[in-house]
């Protein structure tokens, strides 16, 4: 304020200041002359002054005018032009074509000219850089267009996702496939960038395939790249899709995403099923009829003394059976596929890999040394639907453990002639025939809405048989799945990708696209956060579990704002699982009449607007939020930090990273554990204490924190 006033009246103020100081000097002279003189001398002096008053005043006026003129010139020719030039210099920065107009004194004009010379070279440099950027952009755009053209030309659907299952790239064929699968564009869940692939494909299958690919990455084999194949049906089996999953790896060969190529094989499968059916008819039933004919003919040949009655009987059989055969073949041609055969789900797999997979799945199983994979004759190959097979054995193991109190299972795979025996052994009482039959024919609940998959049907789809045997010697029981061996095909040379990134993906897909880059460069201490937690009906969002409570607090400027919290119970569309009530203590009665999620999510979305989300094991909560994206149209696209992962970053040597363990480690009091709001505020306090520890590790910005979290071992999909 004062500066502004000074600036505006600086001429008058300076002039006044100069005049005042000169006046003070003259006054001082007079005082020196007059001091300690007697009265007569003072009077004389006063008279002298009065007599010369007019010329002295004129002189003083002249002096003031001269000074005013000089001051004016100084300001007008030096100060003002320099101030203007300073402003113009700022303009030069943003507009390199701008030039300073030379005004003012010669020296000032020279300074301006020098600045203009500098500006010219700056402009040249700027134009140069700009040209290079444009060239690079053009090359990038060309590459992108080429990729886009290539992708749209592809007969397959292509989805590129990060490890969380977010779609980073999607071609029109894939979009079309899912639209058709979901009954037209209007009803379809949006297939777009940043959406979750789990809204489109069965989660279990993708997680299974991811595990396969990751296992192959860790156990690389000559000649084949890591690849997993699975088959799934969309829209209740109306569309059948074969998917190939390949990993996207970074320079360190760690996987940070995956590519899914999708083939619509519905027609192919239908044709195959018809073919399979026909073949089945022509083998099974035809064998029966031929047996009847052949036996009759052979009897007539071998026993010429046959009575006339018997002879007529056998001729009757031959006639009847040959007519049946004719009808059979005609029917077979007309036959339409009724259900799925299943052979088309099979992928080629090494016995060792299958065993390793099963051992990972069955936590109470040990490898049976007598029934190792392969044996002396080298690697054993099978045609399997490893997902279904793993499910089947998990199912058996579950029943044995829970109903027959079996503590440990032995699992093995061995070659027996042209077959492989996949064996599950345990000791205990033999199983009754009724138990066996019920276990074989009960639905495995393999995927949502598919209830016809049973142990029998899985084994049948492998062209196999299952045998139960009891060995009284060691009171050992065995389930043996007999499977035909596969001929190992030579690996198809699809051209193993060179290490590092393929050049088509040079634009950085694995940074959350559409996110504010500037935000990610900001330090963690400067961001605003919404720390949240949810309680749910159960642990399986894909199986219909839902949110029943959301709690959240805000962190602004490094402080938790306790007065600004979000705490809301939600009435779910289903009942609580009893085991979940045991955890959070919420009962169905407490939820009655509460608002629905469609009402609550938009409120929470507004509460969390323009903040970074923080949660403990946030992937779990985010999954529940994502499940409701389609229904509510509310999408949480902001960055998410996970204290579970960050804890791994700051304390990589600690084993425990549960919220309790973190609270203990950081000395945070636990209040209201297992209420959404209680857990959210514990998480917030823990998170605040983590920020300085992260900084010690060189993790200062949001980007760095997100990257570090992604790299930790926990950054895999768990739910």
């Amino acid at each position: 304020m004062i500066r502004r006033i000074f600036f505006k009246y600086r001429f008058w103020l300076l002039l006044a200041l100069m005049f005042a100081s000169q006046l003070a000097i003259v006054g001082g002279f007079f005082f020196v002359i007059v001091a300690d003189r007697d009265a007569a001398q003072r009077e004389l002096f006063e008279q002298l002054l009065l007599q010369r008053a007019v010329p002295m005043l004129l002189l003083a006026l002249l002096l003031v005018s001269a000074q005013a003129w000089a001051l004016k010139a100084l300001i007008g020719r030096y100060l003002a032009p320099m101030a203007r030039m300073a402003e113009e210099a700022v303009l030069l920065m943003s507009n390199p074509g701008y030039r300073i107009a030379p005004t003012g004194a010669r020296e000032v004009r020279e300074l301006g000219a020098k600045l203009n010379t500098l500006a010219t070279s700056h402009q040249r440099l700027h134009d140069d850089v700009q040209a290079k950027i444009e060239a690079a952009n053009a090359a990038l755009a060309e590459e992108r267009n080429r990729l886009a053209a290539l992708m749209s030309e592809l007969a397959q659907g292509v989805l590129v996702c990060n490890l969380e299952g977010r779609i980073l790239l999607c071609n029109s064929r894939a979009r079309k496939l899912f639209e058709v699968a979901q009954g037209g564009a209007a009803r379809a869940a949006p297939v777009g960038l940043g959406r979750s692939v789990f809204g489109l494909l069965e989660r279990g299958l993708i997680v299974h395939a991811l595990e396969q690919v990751q296992y192959q990455l860790q156990h690389p084999e000559e000649g084949t790249g890591p690849l997993s194949v699975f088959v799934t049906s969309l829209n209740e089996g109306r569309i059948i899709v074969r998917a190939h999953m390949a990993p996207v790896v970074d320079n360190e060969r760690t996987m940070n995403g995956f590519v899914l190529t999708l083939d619509d094989i519905t027609r192919k499968v239908e044709a195959e099923i018809r073919h399979e059916r026909l073949q089945q008819l022509l083998t099974h039933e035809t064998r029966d009829m031929l047996a009847n004919i052949r036996a009759s003919v052979e009897i007539m040949q071998d026993f010429p003394e046959l009575s006339e009655y018997k002879r007529q009987q056998f001729i009757g059989i031959i006639d009847h059976e040959s007519q049946r055969l004719t009808r059979q073949i005609e029917d077979a041609d007309r036959q339409r596929a009724g259900d799925h055969g299943g052979q088309w789900r099979l992928e080629e797999m090494r016995g060792d890999d299958l065993l390793a997979l099963l051992l990972r799945r069955l936590d109470n199983a040990v490898l049976d040394d007598d029934a190792r994979a392969g044996g002396d004759e080298g690697a054993l190959w099978l045609q399997v639907d490893s997902y279904a097979l793993a499910h089947t054995l998990t199912y058996l193991a579950h029943r044995l453990t829970h109903e027959k109190a079996v503590a440990q299972l032995r699992i093995g795979l061995r070659r027996v002639g042209r077959l492989a025996h996949l064996e599950l052994g345990w000791s205990g009482e033999p199983l009754s025939a009724d138990t066996l039959r019920s276990w074989e024919n009960e639905s495995l609940q393999l995927s949502v809405g598919q209830s016809d998959v049973t142990l029998s049907s899985v084994v049948a789809s492998h062209g196999g048989e299952v045998v139960y045997q009891f060995d009284p010697a060691g009171s050992m029981s065995y389930f043996r799945i007999l499977l035909p061996l596969a001929e190992r095909r030579a690996p198809v040379d699809i051209g193993v990708l060179p290490p590092g990134r393929p050049e088509f993906y040079d634009f950085d897909l694995f940074r959350q696209s559409g996110q504010d880059a500037a935000l990610e460069e900001r330090p963690l201490t400067a961001l605003h956060y919404t720390v949240f937690d949810t309680e749910t009906t159960g642990l399986h969002p894909a199986d219909g579990d839902e949110i029943i409570s959301i709690g959240a607090v805000r962190i602004v400027n490094g402080r938790m704002l306790e007065q600004e919290s979000f705490d809301q119970l939600v009435q779910p569309g289903q009942f609580l699982r009893p085991e979940s009530t045991a955890i959070h203590g919420i009962t169905d009665a407490m939820l009655k009449g509460r608002p629905r999620i469609a009402e609550v999510l938009p409120q929470f979305h507004r509460f969390a607007e323009d903040t970074v989300l923080v949660g403990h094991n946030a992937a779990f909560d985010m999954k529940f939020l994502q499940m409701k994206e389609a229904q509510t149209g509310v999408r949480f696209s902001q960055p998410v930090l996970d204290t579970l992962l960050l804890s791994q970053v700051v304390h990589p040597n600690q084993e425990q990273h549960t919220l309790e363990a973190l609270a203990r480690r950081f000395g945070v009091d636990i209040v209201g554990r297992h209420t959404a709001l209680g857990d959210a505020s514990v998480t917030a306090e823990v998170f605040l204490k983590m920020i300085p520890l992260l900084a010690e590790k060189g993790i200062v910005t949001l980007r760095q924190a997100l990257d570090a979290a992604q790299q930790t071992a926990y950054a895999r999909i768990r739910y």
């Binding site: 031929l290 047996a291 052979e298 018997k310 007999l482």
Partner: protein, 124 residues
């Protein structure tokens, strides 16, 4: 004393042939048309050999075989499976469940008679 053979099959047309063949060879024959009946005949007829079809409604031949093998007093009984199921896994399963021989349909009657003879000879 004549050896006893139990024929288990739901197809009358093959039963006629099988019955004829076995009687010609001088065996005593009993018939069963399904699994339940087969197990009853096992008790009453006490056969030396069972000609067992696999594909039958309700209880199939595999299960009949398993139930026969569960009874130690029926241990000496020979089981010959006759089946239109002809894959390696089917044959393996039959033998694993305790069948002594497995013949796929259509079969040669001469081969069948030879096998029956061998099984009964081994049993004496």
């Amino acid at each position: 004393m004549a050896r006893k053979i139990l024929i288990v099959d739901d197809e009358p047309n093959i039963v006629i042939s099988l019955e004829f063949l076995m009687q010609q060879r001088g065996y005593e024959v009993a018939l069963a048309h399904d699994g339940e009946q087969a197990l009853q005949r096992m008790e009453t007829f006490r056969p030396d050999l069972v000609l067992l079809d696999v594909v039958m409604p309700a209880m199939d031949g595999y299960e009949v075989c398993r139930k026969i093998r569960e009874r130690s007093d029926w241990n000496p009984v020979r089981i010959l499976m006759l089946s239109a199921k002809a894959r390696d896994v089917d044959v393996s399963k039959g033998l694993a469940l305790g069948a002594d021989a497995y013949m796929t349909k259509p079969f040669s009657t001469r081969q069948l008679m030879a096998t029956v003879g061998e099984l009964l000879a081994a049993n004496t």
